[in-house]
Symmetry: C2
Subunit: 241 residues, 2 copies
DNA sequence: TTTCACTCTGGGGTTTCCCCCAGTTGATCC
DNA sequence: GGATCAACTGGGGGAAACCCCAGAGTGAAA
């Protein structure tokens, strides 16, 4: 029963390997990869029963790696083992992972026992989601607070610092459409507008970015990816495929 | 020769402790603290030769802990051992640390050898700064790119999503003064204005926030602190004290 | 099929943000 | 004593962002 570990930090890899060797007796050979690309290649070759993926890796993120691996080998158990509980990753993962596959999401702040528990769960065919993540999942499925693809696109663009007109140009929309997206974004984030409240406390545009960072709807590395895409003229990231 | 380690992650503490036991032969007892407050208390009691501090800790950040420890025991060697190379921390640290004290700044992505090297340097009375940090230090000392206290205050406020008028109210300034601060902030961040460039590509306000995140001038946990301060009516954070 | 949510569209407003200009103060440095 | 720089002040103007309204098309769920 082969296991594959993918993490760019050597320290984390050896920690996890140690943990598995000591606590998962029925384990077979444990292989390691140090980036997402390598992880995919090794996975298709070794056909492991379980793959542990860090999210933040060079070349290919753990989530995209998971997508490719599951496309080839749908029966593989996948554990995302990350420092981050950002909503943006949960959104992506839920889109990428087929509903019937076996997977886990564990934060690196978890105790050793929790990690072992998660691994055991996956190996016996159950899912295991970190307690801290469940809150986030709730939010992504609540109609009133979760963002639509259109709202999310607009959010990313203002977070990058684009103007309405420049967003419109990039996404092939009218300025009015952009503003309409923003308007519903602001209301979902519950940002008080000009008419309401006593005084004009907030610049909604910046406030939306701030709150979205806080809630993990967006984060630095994701924005960097988007900036690449948008400046290469490709659009519709969340919609397509 | 006592050594004190402060980190809220048990895993990191034991990793570092192991490393020191194995590689710093002349070491004496090694104590551990799991937050900043405890670190300060233990330091004044134990008077260690060396203190290793994580930045992100509950109750009291590693930097503030370092400040208090150095105030009591200026001869203590301090190593900041953090995941972050954010400029905001470098700014803070340089203000807090007396010029003649012995300290180090090591990123957790450093190799074991580098960490040992840093510890040895501190113990023999030299400073040790992570290579990745030196770039940042350069920038904080370059007149043309480093922010003044006033510009930084304005930056924090727009990052929190406040309007000009609300910033003015909180900082006891006129709106014009706020706009003047923002104007010089934008120019230091090299954001093209409305007149320049082909088309109005950027919303400067949001763009400034984005670039500042990228450069580590600001980050989430620092902004949370500032939001607290500003809503309690206290101002002038960087200036005072 | 009818609902419903989502999205884009349009007209016609107000306010905030950013622009240009110029002038005063205070601190620091040679 | 000038020179320099950071910081706040002021007027006046333009453009972007946000406000309200209402309508119409899409696709999915009831």
């Amino acid at each position: 029963m082969t296991i594959l570990i993918a993490d760019d930090e050597e320290r984390d890899r050896s920690w996890l390997k140690d943990l598995l060797v000591k606590n998962v007796p029925e384990e077979g050979p444990i292989h390691e990869a140090s980036d997402g690309q390598a992880a995919v290649e090794m996975a298709v070759k070794l056909k492991p029963k379980l793959v542990c993926l860090d999210i933040k890796m060079p070349h290919l993120s753990g989530i995209k790696a998971a997508e490719q691996i599951l496309a080839e080998l749908p029966r593989t158990g996948v554990i995302i083992l990350s420092n981050f509980s950002d909503e943006v990753y949960v959104r992506q993962l839920w889109k990428v992972v087929p509903g019937d596959s076996v997977f886990g999401y564990v934060l690196k702040s978890a105790s050793n026992e929790q990690v072992v528990e998660a691994v055991r769960a996956i190996l016996s065919g159950d899912c295991w989601i970190h307690p801290g993540i469940s809150r986030v999942i709730q939010r992504t499925q609540n109609r009133a607070t979760s963002l639509t693809a259109a709202e999310f696109e607009a959010l990313v663009c203002i977070a990058l610092g684009l103007t309405d007109s420049s967003i419109a140009r990039r996404l092939y929309l009218t300025e009015k459409a952009v503003q309409s997206r923003l308007k519903s974004l602001y209301s979902k984030l519950a940002i008080p507008g000009r008419g309401e409240q006593q005084d004009t406390e907030y610049n909604q545009r910046c406030r939306a970015v701030y709150l979205s960072y806080r809630r993990g709807l967006i984060n630095q590395s994701e924005l960097d990816d988007w900036e690449q895409k948008l400046f290469d003229g490709k659009v519709g990231g969340e919609k397509q495929q």
